[in-house]
Symmetry: C2
């Protein structure tokens, strides 16, 4: 029963359902993207901070949570019989952090990036662990803060080289006005927002059914409805239709549809002020716009809300969204602290950048592999390596066990290292090395569709003195590296 024995002895090397690893080329791209995002944040003076991944259960679930609800998160009863859970977003941790650090100078202009964990049904592009990056201004009531968040969102996309995007913004106060206007109880308001938020993903009919009797989704699951009256549903539907129609100012349309609803009027005035600020900041007008079908699903938003869509990738949904949440710190503190922010899905945006070819995927960090022809000459290979690294050229001496040159070159090929330096006794006697441009070889191989071919391509080899090797590489890495 060797098979059974193996089964009990070995652990299957698998990730948890809904989890994933990042291969080097993915992680290189991710780091490159994060570093661009941070550049934009820091140019605008936002401060990095970091909170713990695990939180007290009540910080995430509220003071009256039940132990059963721990299973809605990656939650459990940990050391010292304390209930805890992995955070499912970063904003609650920020609220807890601000409340717990009363000496923090306000406004706190800040950002945090890190993984969050959700017990969602995994699917293509949907993971249970993924990275978010949040930017927030805490302790500012004025709408310039909201406009600044939108402006930073626009800057991020521009800095990442994405051209076809649009930050659409709206105001919960307008939708609260709509709920009021339709005679719907205020308590149902957050549920109405949660349902309207599905407009883009599920379509108008699904939303209308969920506002009313409920519906059955594609997989056969029953989705209960809010049971609103037909007249109320029609009012919501017609509002959404009218503000979504091309032509005309959506704010004027809303003002006329919701005339007299004070809270809606306040929301409209706020969006007009944000428009003025964006204009003063010279934010590209084609990149932002009021869209009153945007509501966001989370219950804690109290004012302006934002979403970003990638025009060429509508299926990706919103990759950067947020809004004003003036009451969230209340969970922890009696003193109200207003706040506004937005959250970026790093992994979804990374997938988008790759899809849009806005990010060059690189396999290797090394630009040069110094091959080892003769183990006795290792000190000589290391001398070459030192020269390369001192010139800032990322490089490695082959560190594997094989002495076979072809296999060493195959390693460089597979890792994606563009250049190989080869030196045997002939070269050492002549004080030269052979440089092989593997990247050019790869291009050739792609053309001839013969992977072995490039390993033999003599014309991409060049024998040069060690002294000019660095110049040669610097020149060529400028083009190929």
């Amino acid at each position: 029963m060797a098979r059974d024995k193996k089964k009990t002895d070995k652990v299957e090397p698998r990730v948890l359902k809904g989890f994933r690893d990042y291969l080097p080329r993915e992680q290189i791209a991710r780091e490159a993207m994060l570093s661009k995002v941070r550049e934009v944040f820091e140019l605008a003076g936002f401060l990095p901070y970091r909170t713990a991944a695990l939180e007290h259960a009540e910080a995430l679930l509220g003071p009256q949570y039940s132990r059963d609800s721990l299973a809605e998160l990656f939650g459990f009863t940990g050391p010292d019989d304390v209930d805890m859970a992995l955070r499912y977003e970063l904003t609650l941790s920020l609220a807890r952090y601000v409340a717990g650090n009363p000496d923090l100078p306000l406004p706190f202009r800040c950002y945090q990036y890190g993984p969050v964990w959700r017990v969602d049904k995994p699917g293509p592009g949907r993971f249970r662990e993924f990275m978010q990056c949040d930017i927030d201004i805490v302790g500012a009531q004025n709408l310039f803060a909201d406009a600044e968040i939108i402006a930073v969102m626009v800057n991020i996309f521009e800095h990442l080289g994405i051209r076809d995007f649009r930050v659409r913004y709206s105001n919960r106060k307008i939708h609260n006005g709509l709920v009021q206007y339709a005679g719907i109880s205020e308590a149902v308001g957050p549920d109405v927002m949660r349902v309207i938020d599905k407009l883009e993903r599920q379509g108008r009919d699904a939303v209308m059914l969920e506002l009313g009797p409920g519906r059955v989704d594609k997989s056969g699951d029953e989705i209960p409805g809010l049971g609103l009256e037909d007249g109320q549903i029609v009012q919501i539907g017609s509002f959404l239709d009218t503000v979504a129609e091309e032509g005309g100012d959506p704010l004027e349309k809303a003002a006329s549809l919701l005339a007299g609803a004070t809270v809606a009027e306040e929301g409209i005035a706020e969006l007009r002020e944000i428009q003025r600020h964006l204009k003063a900041m010279e934010v590209d007008e084609t990149k932002t716009g009021v869209d009153l079908t945007v509501v966001r699903g989370l219950a804690y938003y109290t004012g302006p809300v934002f979403e970003t869509s990638l025009l060429k990738l509508p299926d990706f949904g919103s990759v950067f969204s947020g809004g004003r949440y003036d009451n969230l710190v209340d969970r922890f503190l009696s003193r109200p602290i207003p706040a506004v922010g937005a959250s970026m899905g790093i992994d979804r945006l990374l997938a988008a950048l790759i899809e849009l070819k806005a990010l060059k995927l690189s396999e290797a960090t090394s630009q040069v592999l110094v091959t080892v022809m003769d183990r006795q000459r290792l000190p000589d290979y290391l001398a070459i390596l030192r020269k390369l690294r001192r010139a800032g050229i990322r490089s490695e001496v082959y560190s594997g066990d094989t002495k076979n040159l072809t296999r060493q070159l195959k390693y460089a090929d597979r890792v994606g290292i563009p250049f190989a330096v080869i030196a045997g006794s002939d070269e050492f006697d002549a004080g030269t090395v052979t440089v092989k441009n593997l990247a050019a070889g790869r291009e050739k191989a792609v053309a001839t569709a013969d992977r072995e071919q490039w390993l033999k391509a003599e014309e991409i080899q060049q024998t040069i003195p060690v002294a000019v090797l660095v110049d040669y590489l610097n020149k060529h890495l400028g083009k190929d590296g």
Copy 2:
């Protein structure tokens, strides 16, 4: 009973026991340190990768774990009734990752950084969540790989500006030889290593007692002993004393003490080879050295082991350590894959850098605060902001709610922003702005011990035309920023 009501309504804004947040000045320093570390890794061609924070319980605890042992980690039974736990180190995840990706080109020269979680007793500087950064070469049997890991360790410290450190290395094979030589059963070997590993922290007497009958520690806890015979303990003690004595080559001493123990001789020869490689790599000889009292506590090391001590901070213990682990991937795979690596405690090293003043703590990311004297002139302030940012000067317009200039300047002071730009109607009429060097003011305030003084210090103000503002700041930020 307002007080009781408050108690049930509000959540106390606290972190879990043994967990912590990072304030901006800590996080800025942490990011700066990590980015230097990554520069060294990438110059040497190591590839970043990333694994999930949660793993299947059996990946961390082995195939025969019991559900009770989940509590030794932050482990729990999660969705779909699957046992899982937060990783307590990164090497097991790497082994799982390599086993699960058979197409990975070997040698896999790689690094990963990320948090790990341990159910340890929290204490000063000891946290239950902390960040590690691992560097590994997987799939290389040759000792050049071991030497390269040591060389990278040295480079890291040099690049971080730490001068007084020493990477000390040893070989488990020598200690296995010692165990054999003393007639101790091979099965007890890993336990002997675990005990000897306490030499530096607990002292010689504690180690001797733990090898024998056991001991009672400071807090009164009983620590069981291995129950070795007196003669065996004396042999171990005398070996450790002899190799630790100043003067003479520890490898020669070991060769004579353990003459005939084949495995020890093999270990000695391996260290001599590593010495030769380090010499050929021109690694500063004063920064590394053989130290046969180093064993490392983990059971999975099979050959050379490394540790780093900061000579000026002996209490910090080893901040970067590792070794060769040729059998670890065996947990997941029948095919053996040799590997060597080292793990750095990012947070402990950061604390050390701060202690050694090798890292400048910065409070702010913004270099300039543009104050808002008159909300109506916001477009003008934004025009100034644009000029600053276009020049790459990190800056913000005051985004809080107060109109009071003194309070705006206090915000800049508390956040640590070095310059403030002030413009009211007078300045706008004259086409000038007032620049206030807050950093200079802060120095003055320290001297006069009057925190309010600097806010008024007229001599650190300068009125200049808007057009020369950027030049002025660039010049001064070179010195002060």
